[in-house]
């Protein structure tokens, strides 16, 4: 049964923001389809429904292009989590988060969770070139063999200043982890939140690679776990019938479903 006739009502909303070309669509694609493939720059925004245990999480993959800026606040309305994405090899993409995207989150929930994600870590970091999860190694290997597989070890010592990027040679990392953490601090201040009362920067700043899968599952699963309270609260308000839960559980993603069903 494809989408089925049954309406799946989303319990919670997660929005991915960030400049064009940083890899938002690729990250989501890696997470949902377990693949890295060529993308086309997103138009407007794309809405996905992800089953997380008994819950339905809606994810908005937005377009980073300036052209679609006007839609951003609509996508963010009522969001429980926002993933602010930049490209570790592009300083400007981090700056854009603050200049262009942060204000869009004004329409998000008050208790909205923010994650800062530096993508394309595979270009700068040898350890991000190794597929994360042992059970997915073979699959990833097959896909990324030419680009990464054999080169990982031999190219590690390449000086980070090397500009070549196409053949798996390291690229200069323009944005460090500490830059992202500093931005996280500024976001909390912008939101008027106490640093102690909020989630720590170490936990909410990720470096990922949609290409190899590095940290991708961890990113989404951490966020999903963190929005659970928000889901439960919403469910209580709406008094959802338990039959829907059961059905959703059955159709849900078994492996990761277990970790979430608590």
């Amino acid at each position: 049964m494809p989408e089925g006739s049954k309406m799946k009502k989303p319990d919670v909303k997660v929005v991915i923001l960030g400049d064009m070309n940083v890899g938002k669509t690729s990250l989501l694609h890696r997470y949902t389809e377990r693949k890295f493939k060529d993308t086309i720059s997103t138009v407007g925004g794309a809405f996905y429904l992800k089953q997380w245990g008994p819950y339905n999480i809606s994810i908005w993959d937005t377009a980073g292009r300036e052209q679609f800026h006007g839609l951003g606040s609509m996508y963010c309305r009522g969001a429980a989590a926002v993933i602010l994405t930049y490209d570790v090899t592009n300083w400007q993409s981090l700056a854009e988060l603050e200049e262009r995207f942060l204000s869009l989150t004004d329409t998000a929930n008050h208790d909205c969770i923010y994650a800062i994600v530096g993508n394309k870590a595979d270009l700068t970091d040898p350890k991000a070139q190794l597929p994360q999860d042992s059970d997915r190694v073979s699959e990833d290997r097959a896909e990324c063999e030419e680009e990464t597989g054999s080169q990982v070890l031999s190219t590690c010592p390449t000086p980070p200043a090397s500009p070549a990027s196409l053949s798996g040679v390291m690229v200069h990392k323009q944005v460090g982890h500490e830059d992202a953490m500093a931005l996280y601090g500024r976001i909390l201040r912008y939101k008027g939140l106490e640093e102690n009362g909020s989630l720590p920067a170490e936990k909410m700043c990720f470096e990922t690679s949609a290409k190899t899968g590095y940290n991708v599952d961890i990113l989404f699963e951490t966020l999903f776990d963190l929005v659970l309270p928000s889901i439960l609260r919403k469910r209580n308000e709406n008094q959802q019938s338990p039959t829907v839960d059961l059905e959703d559980c059955r159709g849900g993603n078994n492996k990761r479903g277990k970790t979430a069903c608590c």
């Binding site: 494809p2 006739s5 060529d38 993308t39 052209q67």
Partner: protein, 618 residues
């Protein structure tokens, strides 16, 4: 007049055909220099500026006819007598559309052309509408005898696989120049905006030269329209602050190339709206529009590939998937029932062809969806298909409907993971995503209940063999202005391209033949009603009446008599099948069931000044 405007391929130098102002004379030098600069880059085979001047014709006014038409050799007169009866039959079939008068147009360069000529005023007997048909005299051309390599024998350059980016191409390489059709978009200030091949940056000097050309001619109160060289046709189109340039070796007519540039312009408008482009350049003349268009290159690339490979663009008509009318009606009803305020169009697409379109009542009253707008929508869907599982919500402007406003398009596939059946819902309300997505669920539900998806999956384009005419290989039929079709989307029908047109090269070759026939039929100087064209590997017949436009392709051995009988049969077959081949009665719905508290008020409340507002139409 004609002979003056018509490039004959002789050495004519840089010639300005329409010099109403004196400035053209002293400035000719500059123009020649610009041209040779352009030539150095685009056509290095003529790197010598003198040579370029010798072979280049600058046309500042619409040229009489394309270069294509300058090959009269091999055109033959026909023994027409036997056809009279069949033609009569045709006429009766089409119930007296023609006031026939005979005219014979003899071309000086040997060989006799006979064709239906409807250009008035060239001849004192210029009252004729269709001449040939009355006497059964048809134009015949042997292409093979042409003086220079025939455009019709040229095979289309195969495009590289879609994923291979042309952006990284070396613009100094020979392979770059070899592309069959280059398209450039620049701003009036000469800033590069788009190039089909190679990066805009690498081409900025070339584009600068192009802009120099444009503004040079402008300074003399003229508009540059085209430049002809031996190998290439360069066509210019200025739209507001944008200048579009096509450099083509495809041998298409200038008119056709300009039409294609217009599609490119419309696609840009569909992303940004005309009003905002105007506003941007008013503020800042040398604004870099790539800031806003960055990321859209693939959409423009995709459009140009479609323009080259899909005759819908040439015919300015929409191709719909043949479907039993009962099934089409039931699909329309499903769409008609799943509505929400501010929803204005519901469109169902399968295999990139239309299944049905349903419109909001108020909208259809004063406007209809233009084929070009549908083409842009279909291209957008194609270009956003990379990640098909999601539901897309994006602003889009339909330039022919209203070039200054956005619709919000909901795009979703109904049959994941195959993703062949696509639902497109257009709303005027930016915030309506969830309401519109809910319509999709209802449509999905109804389609499951009626098993529509598996019925749609069985639908497919038809084979020409179903027509039952042995020599007929392919055709394109576009009806217009018949009562049923009035105020309806212009459509055309065409069978699958089958052997011998199964390879990409052969498909392109047939399309090129059709383009040639089309350019003759629609020639501005000497439009034709009917052309019978004997090519080397096939015989084509194109015929335009007040009711339809028809292009047919036959095996080369067909006789004229057979071709005409075949067309009679074909027209009968189409008539019989039209309920299946076309969307006949597009249903309407009303999303404002209660006019007193209609969407009118709601809409203006939601109007958002940040992105040009919404349709102020309802």
């Amino acid at each position: 007049m004609e002979s003056e405007n018509q490039p004959r391929g002789e050495a004519e130098g840089v010639k300005i055909h329409d010099p109403p102002s004196e400035s053209s004379i002293p400035a000719a030098d500059t123009l020649a220099t610009s041209l040779s600069l352009l030539g150095n880059h685009m056509f290095p085979e003529h790197a010598n500026p003198v040579e370029i001047n010798d072979n280049t014709i600058v046309n500042k006014e619409a040229p009489a006819e394309s270069v294509l038409s300058d090959a009269p050799a091999g055109e033959q007169s026909l023994d027409a007598e036997p056809q009279v009866n069949q033609v009569k039959e045709l006429e009766t079939e089409e119930s007296g559309i023609f006031e026939c008068q005979n005219s014979m147009y003899t071309q000086p360069a040997g060989g006799v052309t006979e064709e239906a000529d409807m250009s008035n005023g060239q001849d004192d007997s210029g009252e004729f509408v269709v001449t040939m048909l009355a006497r059964g005299k048809l134009e015949e051309q042997g292409v093979g005898v042409k003086g220079r390599s025939s455009p019709l024998l040229e095979t289309g350059t195969l495009e590289a696989p879609a994923f291979l980016s042309h952006r990284d191409e070396d613009v100094t390489a020979e392979s770059w120049r070899q592309h069959r059709k280059h398209v450039f978009v620049l701003s009036e200030a000469g800033k590069p905006i788009y190039s089909r091949y190679g990066s805009e940056e690498a081409l900025s000097s070339t584009m600068g030269v192009m802009m120099a050309l444009v503004s040079f001619v402008q300074s003399g109160d003229n508009i540059i329209r085209s430049v002809y060289s031996e190998e290439h046709t360069v066509v210019f189109l200025q739209k507001g602050p944008l200048v579009l340039v096509c450099v083509s070796s495809s041998r298409q007519s200038e008119q056709q190339l300009r039409g294609e540039l217009l599609y490119v312009y419309y696609q840009i408008i569909s992303m940004l709206t005309q009003a905002s482009i105007a506003r941007i350049f008013e503020h800042k003349k040398n604004y870099d529009l790539r800031r806003l268009l960055a990321g859209s290159e693939k959409i423009l690339d995709g459009l140009l590939n479609l323009v080259d490979s899909d005759p819908s663009f040439l015919l300015a008509a929409v191709h719909c998937l043949p479907l039993a009318s009962s099934l089409r009606d039931s699909l329309s009803q499903i769409l008609q029932k799943a509505i929400t305020p501010n929803l204005v169009f519901s469109i169902l697409i399968a295999k990139n062809q239309l299944l049905t379109i349903v419109q909001e009542k108020t909208v259809i009253e004063d406007a209809r969806l233009e084929p070009a707008d549908v083409h842009l929508l279909l291209n957008l869907i194609g270009a956003s298909s990379a990640f098909q599982a999601g539901e897309i919500w994006t602003p889009i402007c339909l330039p022919l409907f209203n070039p200054d406003c956005y619709f919000y398009a909901y795009i979703s596939y109904l049959d994941p993971p195959e993703c062949t059946v696509c639902l497109l819902l257009l709303s005027t309300d930016k915030e309506a995503f969830y309401a519109v997505a809910e319509c999709k669920r209802r449509i999905e539900e109804a389609m499951v209940a009626q098993n529509s998806l598996s019925l749609i999956a069985k639908a497919q384009s038809y084979s020409v063999s179903q027509v039952g005419v042995s020599d007929l290989r392919h055709f394109m039929y576009k009806p217009f202005d018949v009562p049923d079709n009035y105020r309806q989307l212009t459509q055309f029908t065409s069978p699958e391209m089958e052997a011998p047109y199964s390879s990409e090269e052969e498909k392109m070759r047939l399309l090129d033949l059709y383009r040639y026939m089309h350019s003759r039929i629609h020639s501005t100087s000497r439009p034709l009603k009917l052309i019978y064209h004997v090519a080397e590997r096939e015989t084509l017949l194109a015929w335009v009446t007040s009711k339809f436009e028809l292009y047919t392709c036959f095996s080369p051995l067909v006789t004229k008599a057979c071709a005409i009988t075949a067309i009679t049969k074909l027209l009968r077959w189409i008539k019989k099948e039209e309920d299946r081949l076309f969307i006949r009665y597009p249903p309407k719905y009303s999303t404002t069931p209660n006019p007193s508290k209609s969407s009118r008020g709601g809409k203006s409340d939601q109007q958002d000044s940040t992105d040009n507002g919404f349709l102020s139409l309802l």
